[in-house]
């Protein structure tokens, strides 16, 4: 079984724990991290917003942020693997999170990812835009985990046609 585990900042520990618990011992695991380039773009844009200031050459401007982001991704995956406690491949990508994850999931048997939305209530809002896209487009089975405690069924909102009791 080929398994892809999407490692995200914030919720990575919970994802690794679930992957270790539910993936079979002989699974061929790849730990994936995708660096979103949006924040780097926003950091550069803030600088370019300054009118008339001399601009550093594009490389000098872009490279430091990119290097920081790449080093952080390497370290995160190394620590995730240590926590997983099994051999695993590591893969880093850059770009739009959801598209890169779907692309990396090609040829996999299962994709493990954490919900990235409201984690206190059952329901569609428990998926943010990125996880929503991945769940909808993944070319394989998906193991969708709750990053902390799974909410109980009473957290489901009432059906839309029931009116709240009036006094």
């Amino acid at each position: 079984m080929r398994a892809l585990v999407w490692i995200v900042e914030d919720t990575w520990q919970a994802t690794v724990a679930e992957a270790a618990a539910y993936l079979p011992a002989d699974a061929d695991i790849t730990l994936l991290h995708v660096a979103g380039t949006e924040a780097e773009g926003a950091a550069r844009a803030a600088r370019h917003a300054l009118l008339g200031r001399p601009h550093p050459p594009p490389d000098a401007d872009v490279q430091p942020l990119r290097a920081i982001s790449e080093q952080a991704a390497e370290e995160l995956l190394a620590e995730a693997q240590a926590r997983l406690g099994r051999p695993a491949r590591r893969e880093t990508r850059r770009g739009r999170l959801e598209r890169e994850v779907v692309a990396a999931a090609e040829g996999m048997d299962v994709l493990v990812l954490a919900r990235d939305g409201d984690h206190a209530h059952l329901g569609p809002r428990s998926l943010g835009p990125a996880a929503r896209f991945v769940v909808d487009h993944a070319p394989c089975r998906v193991l969708l985990i709750w990053p902390d405690v799974t909410p109980d069924v009473t957290t489901i909102p009432p059906p839309p046609d029931t009116k709240p009791p009036r006094r």
Partner: protein, 415 residues
């Protein structure tokens, strides 16, 4: 030269100069474009030599002030202030993305107010990006917060934004009075940003996290902090002791620079880069070009549009129109155009204008619509910039921040 022709020529020169600065043409620097434009306008008589000289003489102290501030910010960076602050807020956040955002707000507002928006945009933002990466949380809200607060928090002190410095030299308020009038408007604008950011980035900030290893407490660079504190105290007391604030800034720049020059930890060349001589020349050239346009009818055109009173509706209209102008032509030329018109109307109008030109650029995040569109077209590597995200965040924050800050300014002017 007939006035209409002179005005048309001055506007064309202004547009070309802004074009060179916004589009970052490879063959002509911003400074060269502004200098050539100013010389051309003098040569053809669109502005007389004495008028151009007056414009330069008025701008010279402002530009000197700016150079000193840039040197102080560079000194603070060299001493490791920004890295230390990044490590400090990472530790203080104790693993919570929301607490990190709160600290980023405090630090970005403080750096912007004390060292100016350049320091936040250029020096603090990469540190905040690295801090979020090290803390293993999404950098998005924190980086956007730096970009927005570089504008919103730049209302507080005359040194927080070049636009403030220009207005400060034109209007007759003391450093301390400026700060006293602007403290509530700044708090209001930053408060609006905080409320919007918490909701806008709820997903990034709300992901459940497990505790991670705590970083050791960093050592803060005492020398840089002492120089900064003394410089700010000097600004506050400048009118009492009868010293121009520009000399306080110069003293601060010398104090923070001299030791590392003496110990050769920095070179004269690095210092020359730090105070950005090209930018200073650009500001001077732009000043002459705008003076030519203003003197040939632009000022009376602006005067006919802008309200003159200091009632709340007038102040709101001034702030809104200034914000619109800043988004059309960038806030630096907008300020240069508006100051001569508003200077006669008292400092309420000038401060409302500053709220507009300082907060307004957040509408597009990158300074102006022209900058935004051009960057979309040309810079292929910017394909990852979320245009819609910038504009939505701007639309949610800017009108509310403008109104809140202007109402608070009006209240402060009343008492």
């Amino acid at each position: 030269m007939p006035e209409g022709l002179a005005l048309a020529l001055a506007l064309v020169v202004l547009a070309s100069t802004l074009g060179a600065a916004v589009f970052q043409a490879r063959y002509v620097t911003e400074a060269a474009a502004a200098t050539a434009g100013a010389l051309l306008l003098v040569a053809v008589g669109a502005v007389s030599l004495s008028h151009a000289g007056d414009a330069l003489r008025e701008l010279a102290p402002t530009v000197g002030f700016l150079a000193a501030l840039l040197l102080i910010a560079e000194g603070a960076r060299r001493e490791g202030l920004f890295d230390a602050v990044g490590a400090l807020i990472a530790r203080g956040s104790r693993g919570s993305a929301q607490r990190l955002l709160a600290f980023v707000f405090v630090v970005a507002a403080g750096v912007t107010a004390a060292l100016g928006l350049d320091a936040t945009a250029v020096l603090l933002t990469p540190v905040v990006f690295a801090t979020a990466a090290r803390m293993r949380t999404s950098p998005r809200p924190h980086v956007y917060a730096c970009g927005h607060l570089a504008n919103s928090a730049s209302l507080l002190l005359p040194v927080s934004n070049l636009t403030n410095l220009l207005a400060f030299h034109a209007g007759g308020v003391s450093f301390a009075r400026f700060a006293a009038l602007m403290v509530l408007p700044t708090a209001g604008a930053v408060g609006v940003e905080w409320v919007v950011f918490r909701r806008f980035f709820a997903i990034d900030l709300g992901r459940p996290r497990q505790p991670e290893a705590q970083a050791p407490r960093p050592a803060l660079p005492r020398f840089a902090l002492v120089v900064l504190a003394l410089t700010l105290a000097g600004f506050a007391l400048s009118s009492l002791i009868g010293v121009q604030p520009v000399w306080v800034a110069a003293a601060g720049a010398v104090a923070i620079t001299a030791p590392s020059l003496a110990s050769r930890t920095t070179s004269a060349a690095a210092l020359a880069r730090a105070f950005e001589p090209g930018f200073l020349v650009f500001v001077l050239g732009l000043g002459v070009i705008v003076a030519a346009a203003s003197g040939n009818g632009l000022a009376s055109a602006v005067r006919s549009v802008l309200p003159t009173g200091s009632s709340l509706p007038d102040l709101l209209a001034i702030a809104a129109l200034s914000a619109i102008l800043a988004n059309l032509v960038n806030n630096l030329p907008a300020t240069l155009m508006l100051i001569p018109v508003l200077a006669a109307n008292g400092h309420g109008a000038i401060l409302a204008m500053l709220i507009g030109v300082n907060v307004g650029p957040n509408l597009t995040y990158v300074g102006s619509l022209a900058t935004l569109l051009w960057r979309r077209v040309v810079h292929a590597e910017d394909a990852d910039i979320e245009l819609g995200e910038f504009l939505r965040l701007g639309a949610l924050t800017v009108p509310a921040a403008l109104i809140t800050a202007t109402v608070l300014l009006w209240l402060c002017l009343k008492v």
